[in-house]
Structures are given as structure tokens and as C-alpha cells.
């Protein structure tokens, strides 16, 4: 076999998520965790509440992971992490990354009180929300992260979700935490770089990672990365970082903003939408994007 050209690896080769895990085919949450651990390394503890990853890890007495995990109650991803960090500090293990690894339901809905509390105290934890836009583990029920117009098992086709997605990033920015970022599984180098940066900051750090779920979105497993990329390219999920609630910096500049139609077409959860619905969704995407652009320009 020819040795003249090296394979181009843009991320460290160390893996902390192991094979044999129970994630569905094409799981975005698997990729998201794989990437963040490449940045954080082995001195990391994950506090995982009820979410897909509570199952993906594998049943007792097994785990697919090579970092420590504390599976915690649904609404306690942040408060458990706060306690773990305090305990480790008291024991002298001060260099551990203590990470909350929670889904969108566990973050935007049931866990928001504990998250807000930890952020207000500026507890020294990294809170990561992997957002697949519904309660996937319980069978695709709507969460406050589910986008307007989407089908879920509790927002049926005849009455899809009428409310807009909760803006968790603005909520976290209002807490003036030292660092927060949005990220996407389609841009792993960007995610990796931002996580490395966050690792060296003290205080509460918040990541919001867009992680498509083929099972819940009724999309093809092979489209998981493509959908995540489209969401960035059509400005539905812009990638940026914010320090101390201000100074929003866009990480991925968009040259030709594309309409959301193609993104929606690849997903069964949007199949029922009529042109007028899509038009209204597009307008909302545009409004949100303009708001981000204004913030990026510092006004």
C-alpha cells in the first residue's frame, strides 16, 4: 500500500466514546459527544440526565465510555455537576473538566432552573446541550426546542407545533456567563476549537450543539451531517460565540444564504407543511438571523 500521502485527520485520533453503544444509526448526539471529548480529554466527568445518552452509554454494569459518567436525575444536569466540581475541588482533583451533557428537554425545559442557578453562581462547569429538537428518548414528544411547524408525537400532523423554538442562547447570554457558543456536528473543527478555548476559561461555559436525529426527524440516517450543515448554511442555526453576554462573534460566515426549503424537504417531520407555512418559517429564520447579525456588529 502506498505510503506517499498521509490521511488527513483534522481532529485528534483519541476516542473516548466507544463502539458497541446503543445510539441509532446516524445519531447526531454521538458525533457531538465524540467531538467535545476530543477537546476535553480523559480528565473529564460527564453528568448525564435522562436523555438519549442515558441509554446510548449502555446498561449497568457496562459503559461504552472511557471517561467517568454520573447518570443523574432529569432536571439536575447542572446542579449535579456543580456538586461534583465542589467535591473534586475539596479532594484536590482541581484539574477535572466537569461537564453537564444534556438534551434539549433536559436543558430548555425541565433543567432550566438548575442551569440558571449554576450560571448565576458562575459555577465552574461546562454545560453542553445537544439539541435534537424534541424528547427523542421517550418517543419524539415536543419540547420547547422543537421548531414551529414540526410534527412530533404530541404535535400531530393535523396540529403541528405552533410555538417558536425557545431562544436558550439569548437566555444564557442574559446570565453574562464568561463563555457560550453554538456549534454543529457538521463543523467539528469549529466545535473542537471552541471547546478547547472553553476548557481554559473558568466559570460557567455553555454550549448549544445542533445534533440531528434521523429517528425523530423522519430523515435518512446518511443525511444527518448534511442537515446540520444546511441548518448553518441557511442561517437557521448560526454558529457563534459570546463572551460575558456580549461581543457576539460569528464563527461561520455565510456567503450565499439559502432558503430553508431544501432543508425541510429532507425531513418527514415537515412533510405536511404548505407553502404559506414554509413562508412564515422562512420569515422567522430571517428575523432571527438579522438579530444575530446586528449583535455580531455590536448593536
Amino acid at each position: 500500500m502506498s505510503q506517499e500521502k498521509k490521511m488527513k485527520l483534522t481532529l485528534p485520533v483519541e476516542e473516548y466514546v466507544g463502539s458497541g453503544n446503543l445510539a441509532c444509526q446516524g445519531c447526531g448526539a454521538n458525533l457531538a459527544l465524540r467531538y467535545i471529548l476530543k477537546a476535553l480529554g480523559p480528565k473529564t466527568v460527564l453528568c448525564i440526565p435522562a436523555c438519549c445518552w442515558a441509554v446510548i452509554d449502555g446498561p449497568f454494569p457496562h459503559s461504552c465510555m472511557s471517561v467517568s459518567i454520573y447518570h443523574c436525575a432529569f432536571e439536575t444536569a447542572a446542579s449535579t455537576a456543580t456538586g461534583v466540581k465542589a467535591g473534586l475541588d475539596m479532594l484536590g482533583d482541581t484539574d477535572m473538566n466537569v461537564v453537564s451533557w444534556a438534551g434539549d428537554g433536559g436543558t430548555l425545559d425541565i433543567g432550566i432552573q438548575a442551569l440558571s442557578g449554576a450560571a448565576e453562581r458562575n459555577d465552574d462547569i461546562i454545560y453542553v446541550c445537544y439539541d435534537n429538537e424534541a424528547y427523542m428518548n421517550t418517543g419524539i414528544q415536543r419540547s420547547s426546542a422543537t421548531p414551529k411547524g414540526a410534527w412530533t408525537t404530541t404535535t400531530p400532523v393535523k396540529f403541528p407545533k405552533v410555538e417558536s423554538k425557545k431562544d436558550i442562547d439569548a437566555i444564557m447570554a442574559a446570565h453574562r456567563i464568561p463563555y457560550q457558543a453554538t456549534a454543529s456536528i457538521a463543523y467539528p473543527e469549529d466545535l473542537y476549537k471552541k471547546m478547547l478555548k472553553a476548557k481554559n476559561i473558568k466559570g460557567t461555559r455553555f454550549f448549544h450543539i445542533f445534533a440531528p436525529c434521523p429517528t425523530g426527524w423522519k430523515s435518512r440516517p446518511e443525511d444527518a451531517v448534511k442537515l446540520a450543515r444546511m441548518a448553518v448554511q441557511n442561517c437557521l442555526f448560526p454558529l457563534y460565540e459570546i463572551e460575558h453576554g456580549e461581543n457576539l462573534a460569528l464563527n461561520i460566515k455565510i456567503q450565499n444564504k439559502k432558503p430553508i426549503d431544501d432543508y425541510l424537504k429532507l425531513q418527514g417531520r415537515f412533510r405536511h407543511l404548505k407553502p404559506a407555512d414554509i413562508q412564515s418559517m422562512q420569515e422567522e429564520v430571517d428575523r432571527n438571523w438579522n438579530r444575530i447579525l446586528k449583535k455580531a456588529q455590536g448593536c
Partner: protein, 99 residues
């Protein structure tokens, strides 16, 4: 094919072997998720440009790098097809699983 250390599923015969805390004692490598596949990625290595994209986007750590080329770990590859979809030169094809 897989270079991952083989592991057996842990089955407790007696409560005496069960730890008091529900905690892990072994990996998930006993769980060969390759059996979930209906379609399998096949890499035409002759056309591979070694860009590493298939390795990067595999959700199941099932693209291995051997002698600077990607190799599928069929023990664990679940057959999602992301590697074939993302391959910029389309040298990965999803073929019907041979059972």
C-alpha cells in the same frame, strides 16, 4: 477486522458479585452493532483521496485508519451511510448487506 479489544457481557450469577452502587465494570464491546446493518459501506480505496472525512463523520468510531487508508470496522458499523454521503469523491458505496 476490529482492532478493539474483545469484551464479554457481564452476567451476575449471585447478588454477591453485584456492586452496591450501580456502576460499570466493563465496556460495551460485546455488543456487535454490525448486526444492525442492512446496507454496508464498501470503500474503493483506489479512488480514495485520504481526506479523512469518512473517519471524521462516523458516529460509531467504525472507520479505522490503517496504512493511511480508511477501513470499515464491520463488527460495529451500523450502516448509517454518512461516510458514503459525505465522501467528496464518492468512493464509498452502500451495498446490500450479505448475511
Amino acid at each position: 477486522m476490529s482492532k478493539k479489544k474483545d469484551a464479554a457481557k457481564i452476567i451476575f450469577e449471585s447478588e454477591k458479585d453485584v456492586p452496591i452502587m450501580p456502576m460499570s465494570l466493563g465496556s460495551m464491546l460485546f455488543n456487535k452493532t454490525g448486526s444492525w446493518r442492512n446496507i454496508r459501506p464498501e470503500i474503493r480505496t483506489a479512488d480514495c483521496i485520504r481526506c479523512g472525512i469518512c473517519w471524521k463523520f462516523c458516529p460509531d468510531m467504525s472507520i479505522l485508519v490503517e496504512e493511511e487508508l480508511p477501513v470499515v470496522d464491520y463488527d460495529f458499523c451500523k450502516g448509517c451511510g454518512i461516510c458514503a454521503e459525505e465522501c467528496p469523491v464518492k468512493c464509498i458505496e452502500m451495498a446490500e448487506e450479505r448475511k
